[in-house]
């Protein structure tokens, strides 16, 4: 499994792994009209990456990861719109801290359970947040969404321009930092113990790995990243809507990750990229067929291509090498 990043594989950053970043910079220089879409894609990649960490590596199946994204988005938005904190880095830090707190608090409670109960609890927590966001109209704007969010220049130097250039680079930097962290985690003994817990909790206990503590730790890290992604989306759009907490959004996120490939870092890059470009091209013309299409896609991926697009690529590469020999 050459493309699957894990402990024991060569941890050095291969030349292929620099390719996405070069491509991202090339897009910045060559396709300035796609900056807003590009920034959104980067945000979703970050969000999918955070989900991959708990779902793909630690095996925590959650329907409620939007809770952290939504919390981050609303914290940044409320700070910018209602509390007069317009510094983007402060907003980002506050969003990350809030999501981390929620992640640690809920993770410590719900990760004692598993299966349907765990699924149910993640869903219930997100729904509670959605209910709060819907009812606390003074703070969140309720169903109308939160607008009028003030975001001052980054470090007082780089203004968020109307073409989205600053936002794009800002999101790219955040994603790069998160990618670095995720890579470090995945290639570390900590990452290996997560995979062990995913594969067999009982044996992890038997070899003395503190499974529960590890899961809470990685859940918190992932929540923090999701919160950051939420804050980035708020700052890029300068708007927050209730849909950041919706179940549909959680479903779409799963589609993006699964499309790319679960548990292999770069699946979280490929999936959102393909998904968002397709959505940009198709969703507006054929909304019903689009919805139908992503449903069908999920079913097909689950039935025939469990590894997603990268899994198919792996297979193709393996077959070609086989032919060469």
């Amino acid at each position: 499994m050459s493309h699957q990043a894990s402990y024991g594989a060569t941890a050095r950053v291969g030349w292929l792994e620099w390719l996405p970043w070069l491509a991202a910079l090339a897009i910045f220089l060559a396709l300035p009209e796609y900056m807003p879409l590009g920034a959104r894609i980067l945000v979703y990649i970050l969000f999918a990456l955070s989900l991959d960490l708990i779902l793909g590596y630690a095996g925590i199946i959650t329907l409620g990861h939007t809770a952290f994204f939504g919390l981050g988005a609303y914290v940044a938005g409320i700070l910018g719109a209602k509390l007069g904190v317009s510094d983007p880095l402060l907003q980002l830090a506050a969003a990350a801290a809030a999501a981390a707190l929620l992640g640690a608090a809920t993770g410590a409670v719900i990760l004692r359970t598993k299966g349907l109960t765990l699924l149910m609890l993640t869903l219930a927590i997100t729904t509670i947040l959605l209910e709060i966001a819907n009812k606390a109209t003074d703070l969140t704007g309720g169903a109308d969404g939160l607008s009028g969010i003030v975001v001052s220049p980054i470090l007082g130097l780089f203004r968020f321009d109307m073409f989205g250039k600053t936002a794009y680079l800002y999101c790219l930097l955040a994603l790069f930092a998160s990618w670095w962290i995720v890579r470090r985690i995945v290639y570390s003994p900590f990452g290996a113990s997560l995979a062990g817990i995913r594969e067999n909790v009982t044996r992890s206990h038997a070899i003395g790995a503190p499974a529960y503590a590890r899961l809470v730790a990685v859940y918190t890290i992932s929540a923090t990243m999701a919160g950051c992604a939420g804050a980035l989306l708020t700052q890029t759009n300068q708007f927050v809507g209730l849909n950041v907490l919706s179940f549909e959004f959680a479903g779409e996120l799963l589609v993006m990750l699964v499309l790319g490939g679960v548990g292999r870092i770069y699946g979280a890059f490929v999936g959102p990229l393909v998904f968002m470009i397709a959505q940009d091209q198709l969703a507006k013309q054929f909304p019903e067929y689009w919805y139908f299409g992503i449903g069908l896609l999920l079913v097909v991926v689950v039935l025939f291509a469990r590894g997603g697009l990268l899994g198919i690529l792996d297979l193709a590469v393996a077959r070609m090498r086989g032919v060469q020999r």
């Binding site: 109960t117 149910m120 219930a124 139908f292």
Partner: protein
């Protein structure tokens, strides 16, 4: 005091009707999840399909109400057999993630199909005249249709319990839920048993969706919107149990109605908090077997 008492009676009455519908829809989910351990998030699709079948049959083809209800049950059950044999059965051993993703995919497909066929508006059920109006009981007036809902669901529940507790089929179902491999070992064809049980459960969901089309309004986002409630009923009640989800459904129906009546500003907030509290206290649900 009199006004308060009458609002309590009204809340309990409407809550019971709501809870009964929730139970009829969710009970199949509890049994199939308990039996095969299959996480079927798309169960709401069957309920929605039942609602649409009822409305389409009555609206477009002039089918009388009782027959339309029966149609909802039969067609949904038949459709679910096709789905189960073609798709679900491939994923019994595939693990929770694949099942979750697959059933979410089904939900997306169902929502899109419903939008294409019926539009995005919520549709109303053209009730027959004999179910409209009021029904006098103990000096109070109750909406006749809700009384019918409660009575009809109660009969259904009675029949279901009799079926599971007293018949040969029920004994096999209970054996398969308790210990699948052992049931197979003594010669029960669990595969066929599951197909039949799945069809029954889905058919009941279709019937529940058709019956409750007034309470849980029929519109394309139905499977997402009410999924949380179906799952709460099953998770809080306990997997594979018949009694647990019944009590959970009534609790949710009544407390949700009460919250919306007395504390509308909090919405369904308390339901979710209570769900979390119950599941932390008893992770396998109120009546599930604790691991």
């Amino acid at each position: 005091m009199e006004a308060f008492l009458s609002s309590v009676v009204s809340v309990v009455f409407h809550g019971t009707a709501y809870g009964m519908i929730l139970y009829v829809i969710s009970v199949g989910l509890s049994v199939t999840m308990g039996m095969m351990g299959f996480v079927n998030l798309a169960h709401g699709v069957f309920a929605m399909a039942g609602g649409y079948i009822l409305i389409a049959a009555m609206g477009s083809f002039g089918v009388p109400y009782p027959l339309a209800l029966a149609l909802a049950f039969v067609l949904v059950a038949a459709g679910s057999v096709v789905l189960e044999r073609l798709l679900y059965s491939r994923l019994y051993t595939a693990g929770e993630l694949a099942q979750v993703l697959f059933t979410i995919g089904l939900i997306f497909i169902a929502i899109a199909t419903a939008r294409l066929l019926f539009g995005t508006m919520q549709l109303l059920v053209p009730l027959p005249d004999y179910l409209k109006g009021q029904f006098g009981l103990l000096g109070r007036d109750f909406p006749a249709f809700r009384v019918f809902l409660i009575a009809f669901s109660a009969v259904m529940v009675g029949a279901l319990w009799f079926g599971v507790e007293r018949t040969r089929w029920g004994a096999m179902v209970r054996a398969a839920v308790d210990n699948g491999p052992m049931a197979r070992a003594i010669g029960i064809n669990t595969k066929r048993l599951f197909t039949i049980t799945f069809a029954m459960g889905s058919g009941l969901a279709g019937l529940g969706g058709a019956l409750g089309a007034e309470i849980l309004t029929v519109q394309p986002s139905y499977p997402f919107e009410h999924l949380v409630y179906f799952l709460i009923v099953v998770a809080v009640g306990g997997l594979g149990s018949l009694r647990g989800p019944f009590i959970a459904a009534l609790l949710i129906g009544i407390s949700d109605t009460a919250c919306k009546y007395w504390l509308p500003q909090f919405g369904a907030f308390f339901i979710y908090v209570a769900t979390i509290a119950i599941l932390l206290w008893r992770p396998a649900g109120l009546f599930g077997r604790q691991a």
